[in-house]
Amino acid sequence: MSKQTHWLLSATAWYCVKFAGALSAAGLAASAIYAKGDGISSWIPGLGMTTIIAVAEFSGKRIDEKEKAIRVATDRKAAEAIAKAEARSDQIARQIVTGIIKQLRIRFFEFGDAPIHKTEDRITLFVCRERVDNGVVKKRLEIFARAGAYADSTCSWDVSDNESDECRGIAGKIWLKGTQIFQEAACEYPKDDDLGKKLQYAESLGISVAEAERLRLKSISFTGFQCMTGGDCWGVILVDSKRKNQILQPETPESPKTKQEKTRFREQEKLLKQYADILCLACEGIEL
């Protein structure tokens, strides 16, 4: 094979592989075998055939690339549309659930002539979300819907299925125990810088002083329970108030209740059971 032929063959092979495909490279090899190195003229039929194959393969590749580009664009548009629809359905779900807990709030806190307090009585539905932190799955209760003050809050509480120390605040305690909890802070949060009182308040709620300082509503009475759907724990419902005797505690021999308080306590318990059933159904269709 002459030097010229060698260069021509190498260049054609490179172009075939780069722009056309394996088929044209194979064609080139076949024409080399056919020509058996008998000068440039014997290469012409083989090279002609290889060129035709190469052009066909090149055109095919171009069409494939175009189709691929169209498919990617279509997939992206579809993904955007799905994300938009999911965001919209999440928003609608939040509106529905907020409507339910707003109604519960009114019925829970209004009793007789006593009106509900606009900013100090509140009900929050937390949703449990998971995230991976350094390869470890961590759970966190985030506000899904709130009726009452600071509805736009982004406050959240760490929870764990195994470690009680990792369950923060009353919501975390409810998550850990799986029971309904009635709790009162050891004292009101001080208006001055009384660190002792701050510590007392924070410890009784299972949080640090720093966490207590960050709370915008320093509630003193709480009740709540896990929200179950589809056999799993979806989140936590927390009722809290800054006012005393708004969330009644069970009667004990040490703290007997009046007849009116007993009636109210019973009403509150019944309401929580009724609305737990409603929220369970409402949250069932919400994908997290």
Binding site: E184, S204, M228, Q249, C280
Partner: protein
């Protein structure tokens, strides 16, 4: 043959157990309060061979079973996978209606030794409801006469 009996929410509320915790109280979660029960009755003799409890929240029974005390008949309890609440009770030998309060007493007696608070409180409530089974259902002035037993 099976019969559904619905609990009266007021009567159930009267029997809710409360336990003191730091700065407060713990009680049965609304999702661990049964709405109704189903009696599994043998149509031949009218004896009860199992009781199913129905709650909101859709929890299903796991493989885990609790054997309540060594008494007779043996009570096998199928608990919820997550909460440990009683979903089903099976008896080693069928029981008569009159034995239900005794079964309730045994469930209640076994409850304090259960470690998990939600499971313990649910067992207490179910025990109390069965102990007073003729008083806790809606629109039933007297125990149902289903024949046999």
């Amino acid at each position: 043959m099976s019969t559904d009996l619905y609990f009266d929410p007021d009567k159930v509320a009267d029997r809710k157990p409360y336990e003191q915790i730091d700065h407060g109280w713990a009680s049965v979660s609304p999702f661990d309060i049964p709405d109704y029960l189903t009696l599994g009755i043998d149509p031949k003799d009218g004896f009860i061979h199992c009781i199913d409890f129905h709650y909101q929240g859709g929890e299903t029974a796991g493989q885990f079973q609790r054997l309540i005390d060594p008494g007779d008949p043996q009570i096998r309890v199928f608990q919820g996978q997550r909460s440990g609440k009683i979903l089903r009770m099976e008896f080693s030998a069928p029981i008569r209606f009159e034995q239900i309060p005794d079964i309730g007493g045994r469930i209640n007696g076994a409850a304090p030794s259960i470690e998990a608070p939600s499971t313990r409180l649910n067992h207490m409530l179910v025990g109390r409801l069965l102990q007073d089974w003729d008083k806790v259902f809606t629109k039933l002035d007297e125990p149902p006469n289903l024949g046999g037993g």
